[in-house]
């Protein structure tokens, strides 16, 4: 059991969980999970059963970037290709 981290702490952390990413960006959990499974969002995991950790700054930037592309009506396969080429 642990206590939920405050937004202030999350905003200063180097690594965050997917739940904290949801709180930071307001993007749905299922969407972030999809991005993760599609390799669009990178994470670190010490062992298979442990929580996935995301680099906060890098992930928030990437989610914002993906959102902007989605708003421009770019499809997911196209976004994947763009992210891969960068």
């Amino acid at each position: 059991m642990s206590r939920q981290r405050s937004m202030e702490t999350i905003e200063k952390s180097e690594y965050v969980t997917i739940g904290e990413l949801v709180r930071l960006t307001g993007v749905r959990y299922s969407t972030l999970k999809f991005y993760t499974e599609e390799g669009m969002l990178h994470f670190e995991q010490a062992e298979e059963n442990l929580t996935r950790r995301y680099k906060r700054e890098e992930s928030v930037e990437r989610i914002t970037y993906i959102r902007q592309m989605r708003e421009q009506k770019i499809t997911i396969p196209e976004i994947k290709a763009i992210l891969k080429s960068e």
Binding site: Q4, M7, G19, V22, R23, Y29, S30, L32, N49
Partner: protein
């Protein structure tokens, strides 16, 4: 994003979509849960939240507060909570979607409903979903929120049928390791709501697991939190899309946020924070056919 205490987080999720002017069983369950949350807040966010010797007696006190809540007290809690959230711009009162139904609309019945701020609603709801459905440690705040949602019949708003099994497994595992979670998971106050609802709801409790009547092992009680409605229109010789647009225009005129959402081959309507399936239909009044569309709530899929 503003940090909200437990009772407010819960209220943003649970009051959303409920009728505000008149009492209902679903609202009674939510107000009882808010009363319980307020008691638990006294030990939350302190070291005491992980001390069973302090937390468990408080949990019992919270359950008593929820069970003993009278009509006057419930009204007071509802007004206070709605007022606080409205002052923070996190909630507003809009015409209830039931008021858009042909029968209610033409009768001029005034029905209002709570609508939570969409961004706050998503952050709280999806944050909870992520913490419960992902492997990893579950915080006390998250577990308490889940327990309150379970006791007030809101689980179907958050988790699909398959996810509910996952939630149950996660909480069973957590309860095996943690005394506080175990005590909380075994504690319930929804029976107080059920006695209010009568025997019909108790029969449902034993039979149904979800709103679509799939399965027989009910884990969480189900309350009617969303409504199916019929909207009439006169748009002859039009296609499905233009009829859908006519419905959307009517709902927008009534003060709702409406957008089309693609879900596989079908198009759903997202009305405020809930999803609806729309299909054309004909109703008969005094043998006169009335063209229109049915809107049926869609829960987590």
């Amino acid at each position: 994003m503003k940090e909200l205490v437990l009772s407010r987080q819960y209220a943003v999720i649970a009051l959303d979509g409920l009728e505000s002017l008149h009492p209902s069983v679903a609202k009674s369950a939510v107000i009882r849960a808010i009363a319980a949350a307020k008691v638990l807040e006294e030990v939350m966010y302190t070291e005491a939240e992980s001390d069973p010797a302090v937390f468990i007696p408080k949990l019992n006190e919270a359950v008593e507060a929820a069970k003993d809540l009278g009509k006057k007290g419930a009204k007071q809690i509802e007004e206070e909570m709605a007022g606080l959230l409205e002052a923070d711009g996190l909630m507003e009162q809009i015409p209830d979607i039931l008021g858009c139904d042909m029968d209610y609309y033409t009768a001029g019945v005034e029905l209002k409903a709570y609508r939570s701020d969409e961004d706050t609603y998503i952050r709280i709801r999806e944050g909870l979903r992520a913490e419960i459905l992902e492997e990893g440690v579950i915080s006390t705040e998250c577990a308490v929120l889940l327990w309150l949602l379970r006791e007030s019949g809101c689980i179907h708003d958050l988790f699909s049928v398959s996810e509910q099994d996952q939630v149950q497994r996660r909480m069973t595992d957590a309860a095996a390791e943690n005394e506080i979670f175990r005590a909380m998971w075994q504690t319930e106050f929804h029976s107080a709501v059920e006695s209010f609802a009568g025997r019909f709801l108790r029969a449902k409790h034993n039979l149904f697991k979800n709103p679509y009547l799939e399965g027989v092992n009910l884990i969480f009680p189900y309350l009617e939190r969303r409504k199916a409605i019929f909207i009439d229109f006169v748009v002859l010789g039009t296609d499905v899309q233009s009829r859908r647009i006519a419905v959307m225009e009517h709902l927008s005129k009534m003060g709702h946020y409406v957008e089309e959402v693609k879900s596989g081959s079908e198009t759903l309507l997202k009305i405020d924070n809930a999803y609806y399936r729309i299909f054309p239909t004909v109703k008969r009044a005094y043998k006169v056919p009335i063209q229109g569309a049915n809107l049926v709530p869609v829960y987590q899929m």
